[in-house]
Symmetry: C2
Subunit: 307 residues, 2 copies
Amino acid sequence: VALLLNPPGPPPEWLRQLKAALPDVEIRLWPEVGNRDEIEIAAVGSLPHGELAKLPKLRMIASLFAGQDLLLGDPLLPDVPIARTDTAEGSTSMTETVLLHVLRHHRFLPQYQDSQARHEWKPLPRLRPRDTTVGIMGLGPLGLAAAKTLRDYGFDVAGWVRRPREEAGIAVFYGEDQLAAFLARSMIVVNLLPPTPALRDVLNRETFAQMPKGGSIVNLGRGTHVVDEDLVAALDSGHLGAATLDVFRQEPLPAESPLWAHPRITVMPHVARRLEIDEIVPRIAENVRRLHAGQPLVNLVDRALGY
Amino acid sequence: VALLLNPPGPPPEWLRQLKAALPDVEIRLWPEVGNRDEIEIAAVGSLPHGELAKLPKLRMIASLFAGQDLLLGDPLLPDVPIARTDTAEGSTSMTETVLLHVLRHHRFLPQYQDSQARHEWKPLPRLRPRDTTVGIMGLGPLGLAAAKTLRDYGFDVAGWVRRPREEAGIAVFYGEDQLAAFLARSMIVVNLLPPTPALRDVLNRETFAQMPKGGSIVNLGRGTHVVDEDLVAALDSGHLGAATLDVFRQEPLPAESPLWAHPRITVMPHVARRLEIDEIVPRIAENVRRLHAGQPLVNLVDRALGY
């Protein structure tokens, strides 16, 4: 039995931990595929389209990324189970990223940096966390962990999800019908939605207009969730106050993009989350164990939903 | 009995809370001083030099600011007790400011914003909090509360103080002899020292050189703690990575200051702390009660030390 690995980072630590967790499985580092008939498992963030289709004995894909769009975008993707590897506790580094950027917007850092560029000394209100409304779009493992941290810190937190549910101390809005109300009460909107076709362009001219004046956007989901021209227009009109973007329709963001030079946009080079190898490897190993024991796999991607 | 108030912000809420806490004391809002012979207490952040000397019956000054330099700089300051009004628990907003800026430097936000200005997509390492060393200069109420929050978050925290002491989970360095060792282990140095003559210029060419390469400065103390030219030189040489400055030798920072335009300096207009009226007023009331009961005042400033 062999596992094909394409890690999103330096391979040595991935190899070391996978070998320790799966001593009976041969780990092969893509593109050194070897005999394709021996590969039953692929642990990948993404691969070039058609690569997974070349593995006739493939029985499971362990997806190393939180978003499944890169895998599901492969028109030749084999019809085998795709197992997520993120933990129910979310990601420490993504939660930290959300806290950092929510604090930045809560304390008006983008506005101060805009003032700084004009050599302008202009103190702004110092709000208490309870006076700042934060809306998290998407309460999957990443969004929920971040929402709980913000709630515990004292922010006034809401979430927007597909189906109704309860979360202690978090106002949960759901479905298209409640999106406008969710946005209207959220001064800082953090996008952690999954990258599905239905959610493409969800942050657009119309939805920005539903946000309160002076509101902020923090996009940690995918570039395709946001209509860039509409965001720039909402900032330029003065309706929105600032935006922090970690993800873009094209990455790296092209040097000629107008987003780079916008005085109220902070551009981050897709660094919100640090994949924690020691959190992910046990999730892969658990499903490999289940696969070989003939037990049902856990934490599977719903291809129809896209996550 | 009258109390002269000069609040650092809109007076109505100060007046309301002081009147409620001290129903037997007449509150007068500076500069409406009235009969100076009736004023026994001054609750002020600062006043023009010589103003307090005009109050012949003054028995106590309640200092509304954390730093005593403005009061103690008055050459005509009357020889009456000066009572601090900050709480032992520190300041919620100052702790938030420290967390915000330490997270910013830990996640290399200033470097990313410098890259953004050059339209450059350049991901940097994503460190864990335990891999980032933070050094807090000054463990008074503000510094200690911030240090504990950073420690609890997972950062590797040290403090630098005047005299030896123990703080759980915080490496305490003390005195001039240990300053170099404290700086050498601190990637992010946060200044919350009191504004005393002995600490003037403490962050200078020599002490910057003692910090690790790539280190950062967050100055939330006073502008006089930092030699600006030395800071700019340390940034320009590449020895230091970035600096966030909330305080300056001259405030507002003059438009012609080179600090505004430096690509690795974040300028904030002295907004680190929000004075919490409802935390400060009970501290004033407690000492007024003690004054009238003939009991010793508490939380007094040591004029020789300067804090």
